[in-house]
Amino acid sequence: MAAGEVSSLELMASVIARTRAVDGRVQAFNSFDAEGALAQARASDARRARAKAAGSPVGPLEGIPVGIKDVISVAGQPLTASSRMLKDFVSPYDATVTRKLKEAGAICWGRLNLDEFAMGSSTENSAFRVTSNPWDLERVPGGSSGGSAAAVAAGEAIAALGSDTGGSIRQPAALCNLVGLKPSYGRVSRYGLIAFASSLDQIGPFARSVEDAALVLRAIAGHDPKDSTSLKMEVPDYLGGIEALRRSGRPWKLGIPKEYFGEGLDPEIGAAVQGAIDAYRGMGCEIREVSLPHTRYAIGAYYIIATAECSSNLARFDGVRYGHRSKDAKDALDLYFKSRAEGFGPEVKRRIILGTYVLSSGYYDAYYLRAQKVRTLIRRDFLEAYKQVDAIVTPTSPTPAFKKGEKAADPLAMYLSDIYTIGVNLAGLPGVSIPCGFTKGGLPIGLQVIGQPFKETELLAIAGAYEAGADWLGRHPTL
């Protein structure tokens, strides 16, 4: 586009044509506004022409269609959280990440499917559609940001935003052969993101390279007075920083946590991750075994903390000011019971009920407070490991993409698929999944690199060092 060989309008039109051609099978989108996107593309081309005439720079994402998970507000567009509760909701304002994407020149493209209210690991909990994995349409794309992952993998968006509370960006990225980044807690504003578990949620990018993920992160990161948990820290020039680290030839010290390579890890994934570790060793990195002894308690702690927070956050859906309202309510109290019964799907109900229980009188100390203490121990494990190593390298998911329906009836089995990603959220760390191979059956495998707090530059440099010597991102699904 900078060379004038292709316009934003042409790019957008080709993305729309691709979406129309394949999304009947992929089902990544809840909705999209093709006319609105083309209008944005025309406006981008006009900005580029004006900038060229004036000799001034264009935005870092000028004219690039970025897909948006349907849980992030874009003014005037639907915001459903893939829930009947918000089936007809229209965002009255832009999320901060949306505003920043627009300021960077990007086109906010479409509303991407997810597990209802971002609760799930397969995108099967959507009230509207089951998204397919572009690598095997019989299988799930992962979740909860499964629509975002499937759209980028299928060529229906150049990049996309997702949200990650327990692995909801990294796990679908792994299952769809993409780069998926969860930034440090506090790095990106959540203003305008529908809250699930506020002490864990972060917004981050899906992209087809570490470089693209760094560009999107740079655009969306930073302090926001409207999200008081966003930290007042300078946003570094990630691309420049990554390049400087690459040139310095600094040999990284990488930790391999033995707890992440035990029972339940698919042998083909174990072998691919070992291959990536060998590649790091081959480029001069020092590989050390580290221990994260409380790993096995992460899922238990997570499903107390996340459900407790969701039961509180989702109390706002009462059928009064917005969202689904039951037509059969006898009185005001009944309006709450019936609107919530009709509006929420089963997984959301289960989590609200579990969260209500662990916070209820007589159980708070035994469950919620205890889980917060275990969280401290999990966080300490990571910080202890970082005294020895720059980053930690693990599989992203214990299995490749599973078949639709395989885990749908067993919530606990579904929860266990997040085993390698959840600790990162509890500890507030940045983590990225990058492609590191394929199974014999042709399913993508992800490598997770976990960084130190707010050291996304180092994290992305380490991920990029592996990516530079691998060719997995050159493969595309046949659709």
């Binding site: 005001a332 919530r340 289960r350 609200i352 205890r370 401290t376």
Partner: protein, 96 residues
């Protein structure tokens, strides 16, 4: 940690303000029983003297300057209302 039989689904669903069908009650009780049994492994952890973590990076006393800014217009605030009249949300009668 409490026993999983302490979990009374009807009571908790009432606190959560969610009506459940008989079918949901049966299914959720079994599924949540499994989850609670799994969570019970947290009992194995010695947490004596450990401080709880509410946020990974606690930020306290975040102040904003007290500057008036335009908020949502009445029209925007009511745009998603299930029922509205005369610039207000309509709700079922609360007092007789």
């Amino acid at each position: 940690m409490p026993k999983s039989e302490d979990f009374k689904l009807d009571h908790v669903a009432n606190l959560a303000r969610i009506d459940l069908t008989a079918e949901e009650k049966g299914r959720f009780a079994a599924q949540l029983g499994d989850v609670l049994a799994f969570i019970a492994q947290l009992n194995e952890v010695n947490v004596d003297g450990v401080e709880p973590t509410a946020h990974a990076f606690p930020v306290v006393n975040v102040w904003a300057d007290d500057v008036p800014e335009p908020g949502l217009s009445v029209e925007d605030a009511l745009r998603n209302a299930p029922e509205k009249r005369d610039n207000m949300f309509v709700v079922p009668k609360v007092v007789e």
